[in-house]
């Protein structure tokens, strides 16, 4: 099966054969639960937590789990790495379909004995399967990431020996090949998780190798590090502006409930949490509205050149080479 057929392959149709030839096949089909309907009554309701686990004053006294698992709804989990395990504390959605599970992003700690992301994902899949009467072995896991930065793929090797798993390679070409793209970034491909459609297209600007992911079931638009509640480090201005335009065009035509980024680096009151901070007691929610995306785009169009700008929702660090100088020395005196 090549990449193209893999993307549009309807596994459910193949799994339930038209003609049942043997008794065991018939028994299997009889016990197989009805496929979940991911296409009616959209958007599927769901909720974000009021407060995420957000580090602690003393890190060695942190007793929170390495990964916080929040079930947005019955078929969608959102994972977040504990700040005491990595200050980057990225978020990682886990989307379930009838045939496949999609994991986006794998945190900033690589070793399984440091944090068992693989175990957490396996547990989520086992729970979901138990709730829905499935066999975990029948589900394929797709391990992908939003963009080619180590705080988003560090734990990818934990999945290398997992059966029935495909994981994204760590080069631009492999990333495009994974989604079968030939015209990056404009081309929008559709991934079928088994009745649940994920739309994927290029979103360069923070880095070149970045995607935007839209889940048609929850209608969450996942924008990675290109647009998130914090300091959007924009390495390539024009590609980023073009990517924003693509996002705006998308939300003009598709319904979007939430726009979600990979990190939170800002407080509820818009105060910047400096790079590397491991305790964010008043952090802002991870989800943003379409309105906030539109406002940011309008603001971005007026940005005169390199520098740091606060749009009211996010900081735009325009071609500052990952530099943040929002902070001042608190002890300065004259």
């Amino acid at each position: 099966m090549d990449r193209r057929t893999f993307l549009s392959y309807n596994a459910a149709a193949v799994a339930v054969p038209m003609a049942l030839t043997t008794f065991s096949d018939a028994a299997k089909a009889a016990t197989r639960p009805e496929p979940i309907d991911f296409t009616s009554n959209l958007p599927a309701p769901g909720s974000f937590p009021d407060k995420w686990i957000c580090g602690s004053e003393s890190l060695m006294d942190n007793t929170d789990p390495p990964v916080q698992v929040h079930w947005y709804n019955a078929h969608t989990a959102i994972l977040r790495q504990n700040k005491a395990y990595s200050y980057e504390a990225p978020f990682a959605p886990l989307y379930f379909g009838n045939d496949r599970v999609l994991l986006l992003d794998e945190g900033y700690t690589s070793l399984r004995n440091d944090w068992d992301l693989r175990g957490v994902v396996d547990e989520c899949i086992a729970h979901w399967c138990a709730r829905n009467g499935r066999d975990p072995a029948s589900l394929e896991l797709l391990v992908a990431f939003s963009h080619l930065h180590d705080d988003h793929y560090a734990a990818v090797n934990q999945f290398a020996d997992r059966p029935n798993t495909r994981y994204m390679g760590l080069t631009h070409e492999e990333m495009l090949g994974f989604w079968g793209m030939t015209n990056f970034p404009e081309e929008r491909v559709s991934l079928d998780l088994g009745g649940r459609e994920i739309l994927i297209w290029g979103s360069p600007g923070h880095v070149i190798s970045e995607f935007a992911y839209y889940d048609s079931y929850t209608q969450i638009l996942y924008t990675g590090d290109m647009f998130y509640r914090g300091r959007c480090y924009i390495s390539f201005w024009q590609p980023w502006l073009d990517s924003m335009k693509r996002l705006i065009d998308f939300v003009d035509t598709y319904p979007v409930t939430h726009v979600m980024g990979c990190h939170v680096e800002i407080s509820k009151d818009g105060v910047d949490y400096p790079y590397g901070l491991t305790w964010q007691p008043d952090e802002a929610p991870v989800q943003m509205s379409v309105q906030q995306l539109r406002e940011t785009y309008e603001y971005a169009k007026t940005v005169p050149g390199p520098g740091i700008y606060f749009t009211g929702t996010v900081f735009l660090c325009v071609e500052t080479r990952s530099l943040t100088t929002i902070d001042v020395n608190p002890y300065s005196y004259s």
């Binding site: 060695m60 944090w115 901070l277």
Partner: protein
């Protein structure tokens, strides 16, 4: 390399003269062995069961011997899994202790110093965490004082607590743990009260104050510049200069460039008239690779530089502080980095000439 006990002059420390005719052993004759008659199982200069309070002789030519023979606990890749001591104690010599807060309790990982004299003890700085559950500084200090008191046959050891800066939240947070402690004098942190305590109300920032520990008199030298209430301390027994945030192997944020240069000049003049073995700062940010440093909030620092700085670095800091004056600049040197008038987040592409640039691996 085998040590040659009869080498004539130690070039690093010309005060210690070993000649065939006039031998001088400022800190004890090594030929006499470690233990006094009647003392067992210890190399201490203090008798094992003193009948009366031991009076130690703190006079010595040159710095009192001592060593930092351990490397500092440097945090861990996953901070939540760190199980190192919350307060790491290194005994430099029998009357001098260096303590460090665990990097995974607070990323500033400040150093505090506990010095003993015949009449009392001095705690310099108090760490970055007030919660004694996370950072049991008081408990550790109490234990050290009790043990030291037992060894010296003293039931009461009055404690003085002084800060290199009253306003620095990386050094004043532990102070609250000592509230209400008996036999304790805390140098008041507010600038005006602190000046009055040292008797410097009229002369600040010139002049020096003194803290008498009993035959070991610690000088308090006003050194504003990184903090407006900055104070450095000089210990004439170990010949240490405790400089806090003013000069340490790390990212030095200059808060007032005029004061900073003036304080380094004052420190240099002081070092010229006093013997200084090491400058001991309040933190370590540098790696052992020249000019390379850990960013703020780092909780895993396996390539950390050693704490102690040679006194020659005062002159180097002064030279580059003068150079940085009037500029908004981040100035990298092999053993420290100066930030003048800029954000502590600032980065620079300028690398100092003649310094090898070695990039360490980045574990994650």
């Amino acid at each position: 390399m085998p040590q040659t006990p009869n080498s004539s002059i130690n070039p690093a420390n010309p005060r210690i003269v070993n000649s065939a005719t006039s031998r001088s052993f400022p800190n004890g004759n090594p030929a006499l062995g470690y233990n006094r008659a009647g003392v067992r199982n210890t190399d201490s200069a203090v008798p094992l069961h003193p009948a009366e309070p031991v009076v130690h002789d703190y006079t010595s030519d040159g710095p009192a011997p001592g060593s930092i023979s351990f490397r500092w606990a440097y945090g861990s890749n996953v901070a939540a899994k760190n199980r190192d001591p919350r307060v790491q104690v290194v005994q430099y010599n029998e009357d001098t202790f260096v303590m460090r807060e665990n990097v995974c309790v607070h990323w500033e990982a400040p150093f505090t110093y506990l010095l003993f004299g015949n009449k009392g003890a001095l705690l310099i700085d108090s760490g970055a965490t007030s919660n004694a559950k996370y950072y049991p500084l008081r408990e550790m200090v109490d234990a050290l004082i009790t043990r030291w008191g037992q060894a010296r046959g003293r039931a009461k050891v009055p404690l003085t607590i002084a800060l290199t800066s009253g306003e620095d939240v990386a050094q004043n947070q532990g102070l609250s743990q000592f509230a209400g402690r008996p036999d304790t004098t805390i140098v008041p942190p507010p600038l005006a009260l602190m000046k009055r305590h040292y008797g410097l109300a009229g002369s600040w920032p010139s002049g020096t104050g003194a803290i008498d520990l009993g035959d070991r008199v610690i000088d308090a030298i006003p050194t504003p510049g990184t903090h407006k209430d900055g104070v450095s301390f000089y210990d004439p027994y170990c010949d240490f200069l405790f400089t806090g945030d003013l000069l340490f192997p790390g990212r030095i944020n200059i808060s007032n460039e005029g004061d900073y240069v003036a304080s380094l000049e004052r420190l240099q003049a002081f070092a010229a008239s006093h013997s200084v073995k090491w400058v001991m700062g309040g933190h370590i940010d540098m790696m052992f690779l020249p000019g390379k440093h850990y960013p703020r909030f780092a909780t895993y620092k396996p390539y950390e530089r050693v704490l102690e700085m040679e006194p020659e670095l005062i002159a180097e800091a002064l030279q580059y502080a003068r150079e940085a004056r009037g500029q908004k600049i981040m100035l990298i040197r092999p053993d420290f980095i100066l930030f003048n008038g800029i954000s502590p987040d600032q980065r620079t592409g300028v690398w100092p000439e003649g310094v090898p640039r070695i990039n360490p691996p980045h574990p994650f």
